[in-house]
């Protein structure tokens, strides 16, 4: 692996080394940070390093999409939920509910990674046929080739992606909807488990309780089971 580095430009090697260091430091930071906000910021670091490696592989468009979509949208969504739920306090990493689970996980992960790396050393990583879906080089730009491939070869997956997005939007709306008021005759499916959750629910949704009257829903729910 290292033997072929004789005629590689120093800029490429330096960029790769710095980006790899950023990626690994960020990934380890995501795992070991005790505060979820720090984890999210470390995730931004890793995503940025991956974008640098995309640029290094002559793929600037995906690098831009990576930064815009991942760092700009997904991580912001994470941070929004963290702040919304107020779980940005430190987590105690010392407690271990399942005894021996953590050393076992570390051992299995190291074993798997070592096995994969060894497998890549003794055999060939790449065994596919070259340029089945179209060349990625040529006179046209990267964006042209990508767009052409999306709208010709991969048209059906693209349409399926649209359906997936619609389903995700509907699912998010259904999940984020508050359960209907208890006086509603078609009381929903979520209220079965027990009274403790209903009490917790009532404590959490104070604006709703203030809007509908504080006492009557609580008594109704206690009378129900």
């Amino acid at each position: 692996m290292l033997a072929a580095s004789g005629h590689i430009s120093a800029v490429d090697v330096g960029t790769f080394a710095v980006a790899a260091a950023i990626i690994l430091a960020g990934a380890i930071g995501v795992v070991v940070a005790r505060n979820p906000v720090h984890s999210a910021l470390m995730l931004v670091m890793t995503l940025f390093g991956v974008a640098v490696l995309f640029v290094l592989q002559r793929d600037p468009f995906l690098a831009a999409v990576q930064v815009i979509v991942y760092a700009g949208a997904i991580v912001v969504l994470f941070l929004f939920v963290i702040m919304f739920l107020g779980v940005d306090r430190k987590e105690n990493l010392g407690t271990e509910p399942l005894r021996g689970q953590r050393p076992l996980a570390i051992g299995l992960t190291v074993l798997g990674a070592t096995g994969l790396l060894l497998l890549g050393q003794v055999s060939h990583w790449t065994t596919g046929a070259p340029h089945v879906a179209g060349l990625d080089t040529g006179s046209h730009s990267n964006v042209y080739l990508l767009g052409k491939s999306v709208y010709t070869t991969y048209l059906f997956p693209f349409e399926a992606t649209a359906a997936l997005l619609i389903i995700a939007v509907v699912g998010a709306v259904v999940l984020a909807r508050r359960p209907p008021a208890p006086s509603n005759p078609e009381v929903d499916e979520g209220d079965e488990p027990g009274t403790t959750e209903l009490v917790a629910d009532g404590q959490l949704s104070e604006p709703e309780a203030n809007a509908t009257g504080t006492t009557t829903p609580a008594t109704h729910e206690e009378a129900r089971p």
């Binding site: 690994l24 290094l56 994470f78 779980v87 990674a113 790449t126 990508l146 070869t153 991969y154 488990p193």
Partner: protein, 101 residues
């Protein structure tokens, strides 16, 4: 001359392993989601590397679809987290044992 693709693939392996380790050892659901994003990024890195090795645009298109699926997954997953938090007031995976038999 560019860098040997083996380096990218090795980095992808290590990144995926760190993400898997995070899913296994962390208990905060949000951090587990972030570790899943790490694994998806490792897969993206390998896709782009293979696209360059095989001179095939398909790998880059697949990265595109992975991005879309990751966005949808995050939206639905965080919706589930918010819905659970509304009932349980905790974001720890250990507390979600209601279905335990």
């Amino acid at each position: 001359m560019t860098i040997n693709p083996d380096w990218y693939l090795g980095l992808g392996v290590v990144l995926f392993s760190i993400g898997a380790l995070g899913v296994l050892i962390r208990r905060n659901v949000l951090v587990m989601f972030m570790c899943i994003e790490l694994m998806l990024n490792a897969a993206n890195l390998t896709f782009v590397t293979f696209a360059r090795m095989l001179h095939d645009i398909g790998g880059q298109v697949l990265v595109f679809f992975v991005l879309v699926v990751a966005a949808a997954e995050v939206v639905v997953g965080l919706g589930i987290v918010v819905a659970i938090f509304r009932r349980r007031a905790s974001a720890t995976a250990d507390d979600l044992h209601l279905m335990k038999g």
